[in-house]
Amino acid sequence: MRHAAALAEAAQSSSRVSAARRRPRQLVAPSWHAPWKLQRVISGLGGWVRCVAVDPSNEFFVTGSADRNVTVWDLATGERKLTLTGHISTVRGAVLSPRHPYLFTAGEDKKVLCWDLEHNKVIRHYHGHLSGVYSLAMHPTLDVLMSGGRDAVCRVWDMRTRSEVHVLSGHTNAVASIITQPTDPQVITGSMDSTVRLWDLAAGKSMGVLTHHQRAVRALARGSGPGAAGSGGEHSFVSGAADGLRKWHASSGQFLFSMRAHEAMVHSLACNSDGVLFSGADDGGYRMWDVATGHCFQAGKAAVQPGSLDSEAAIYCAAFDMTGTRLITGGADKTVRVWREDPSATPESHPVDMDAYRAEVRRAEEAGAV
């Protein structure tokens, strides 16, 4: 009797599933974006470029690399302006504050440093990580700093007093990526235990766990782009792993759709206010997406700097500048690349490939979220 009830229940649920699959497809046409072209390759760093951050005034950008240096570059000319030495291992995270003249960096030497860019000196150490720090983020409205690393926790630091406000523990492997947003969940972390966690910053507790990914989540990006709160854009975020990209609702954590892209680890994600999402992978492949619909309008593989190994093609970090018209990436071939939109491209010259988009959507829906 019980068995029969279970069977009936299963049949009911399967009919629901088929209804969901047979739902009439009302595809929103992806908005057109100009393809992006490589504008400049800056070489001269001594190691893998692991993180990049753009100045809020849009005058310079900062890279952190495996040669233990934090380098400040001029955004317009691409010239090196400054090299900050202080880390004793790879610099893995860099954040520029829009409210302070501060630069925050974190590295595999367990250090989280606060640099005063008026004196180019370290003025604060945030001491407490038990192992290397892999990611760093700053709260958009509060003066707190989030750092996560190999000790599988995300630590919340009070910027001024250097005290550890919260230890957001719950991950079972290294925390590889952090994003923040002004409303709950204010902290979202992606970990190498292949989960994404949403955190309640006020209580210091986990608000939810997203277990859809099968591989380490090494990249996260807010779908609304780099704009401030309430500036428009989507209230979503994208997570990247070796099994593809996934887009989520930024408040509830509801899964929206997946984007199957790379056959390699996705190291970097960046989104601008126009809704262009960049994803860079470990094999040097990159893709440009329309983040609203998940349409990939550009895919390619950047050639590595001459003299590099074939395995040194990874794109480790990416950031759009404040205007969203330049993309800065850093890779394992020790170069920083600047990309820009093709100015000569028009919707006529590069039309949206709707057939490919439909095929991609159909394939994704038939495969299910596996």
């Binding site: 409303t183 709160a229 979220a369």
Partner: protein, 665 residues
Amino acid sequence: MAGSLASLLPRPTKLYDVYDDSGASSAVAALASAAHGPEPPPYGKRQGFRPSGPEDFGGGGAFPEIHSPQYPRNMGNPSGARRGKTIGVAVDAQSGAAAHDALVLRGGDNSGRRVFTRFEDVVERRGGVPLEPPSQEEVDETLARTQAALMAIVDKASAAGRGVQLPTQSRNRHNQSRFVRLTASEEAAGYNPDAKHRLVRVVEAPQDPLEPPKHKHKKAPAGPPEDPVPVQHAPAGKVSAADQQAWEIPPAISNWKNAHGFTIPLHVRMAADGRRLQETVTNERHAALTHDLDVAEALARKEVDARARLQQRLVLQEKEAKEAEMRELAARARLERTGIVPRAPVDTGAAAAAAAAAAGAAASAAAGAAASGPAGAAGAAPGAAVAGLGGADSGGFTGAAGAPAFAGGAAEAHGPADDGVSDRETMRAERKRQRERELRQEQSGKRARGPAGGRDDRDVSEKIALGMSAAPSLRGEAAFDTRLFAGGGGVGSGFGGDGDDNAYSAPWRTAAVSSIYRPRGDVGGAGDADAALAKLKGAAAKFTADVDFEGVGAGAGAGAAAAAARPAGAGLGSGGAGVAAPARDGPVEFVRAEGRPAGAGADGEADAGGDPFAAMGAGEARGGGRGLEGVGRGGGMRAAAGGGSGGGGSGRDAGRTLDDDFTTG
């Protein structure tokens, strides 16, 4: 007893601060108790304690020191509520539908969270989900709430941080010292009635500011793990055999460390050595390119060789043709002179001039040849032949044509014609053989050269082995100025003092420099006794010319006068220059005489329009000061001439003027 002593003693004013992390662990315990109910009695106070229900474990595991059956979280409890593997189906309160996720959602860590448990949560949704950004009010509300919560935490932490500061040491210790009067108890051991009362001074103990903290970090035990959530992805698929094969990494085998002394086969070592894993592939077109280059080079060399050979053959043919033509000319001239063949018009102008010159020379030589004799004629013949061969241009040809004519005339006068012809034929044949031999040698290449010529392509070691290698000639930086060697004073000795601006360490030709350009002594000057004697005898006056030759200036006259003062040859018609010219101390600058066409009349007397002194002066100038010495020795005026006249011998000078020699210049 201790209590009485404590009551007797005054209350301490200072206390050691001993810090402990027990507060943290108690906070964890409080957290655990809040989550899991009442706490079991602490460790050490569990005498008679028997855990009966899940609440007695405080969320933790079993107590190993309590020897009774224990079922934390009712795990494995045979009489508990959760006995079987099947659990009851919970029902949704509103809809009445089965809620399979009730176990995950109800109670525990997931109670306040959004947990995705349904299949719909893994279905893609493109569109249909509103993605409006939160309103500004929501942002502000969140900001205020979070800020307050964080501020509370930061304040507490900073307050705790202030408490941790090291106790400050009082600066004035005497102000802090206190006096305490002690009254000893009579029951105390060692009671001394004489010292019933003692006055004790209490002073703060000095404190080392660098003393490490006395507290010890204690690692708090990890809290219970979070309640699990449904995994929303498929389990990892089974690894295929191909994948396993692809990921198989051979164990590393060291060539240096082999602690057990196993015999490791060579192919395993080679496989472990990573050097041969990379295969260098060279494009096969490199080989093709090299081969093609070799073929092209060989072809080019062959072509160049053939071209050179052809050119050589052409040159030889041309030479032979010219020689044959000349021979023909000479034969015709001889026949004409002997009158066997009537005069025929000669087709080329050069041949006509040559014939005329030959006739003139023969006529003038008829008288002079008597003095020189047949030996002179025989000696002149080879020289004339050489001159005829070497002359290529018309001027040389003219002069050369005159000589055989003259020689032929002489030979005819003194000997039979066959004799001269056969001589010439033998010589001609011999010369032809020689030329052909040279040509063969050139064609056969460098190999035909003697070992002294050397093959350049031999290696040094080969040369040494063949005995061909002399001491290597010094080249480049190895070449030294030998004058720098064997200098007693070293480098400083060669070039004089610092002030001297000497470009060379030694003068060039130290011995002869004074006699190069200078006329010897004051010849012809006021102090020359010979000149004075000659003047007195009137010999000089015979040769004194009142015409100075143009172009040379006054300096040339002195040399000419000196030449005139010496005994002149019989054939010298007239000579001498101006006596009034001052002494010359440099080389004569010679300007070519105007109005004397090259190849004009062969005889000086016949050429009355020309200036004989100009020719003579020029001859003297060319010979230089020393050239005049040869005048007397030759028995006539013989000046050096260019072209092929070197083999002319002494027989050529008799009865001739200088004009022939100078026309060739």
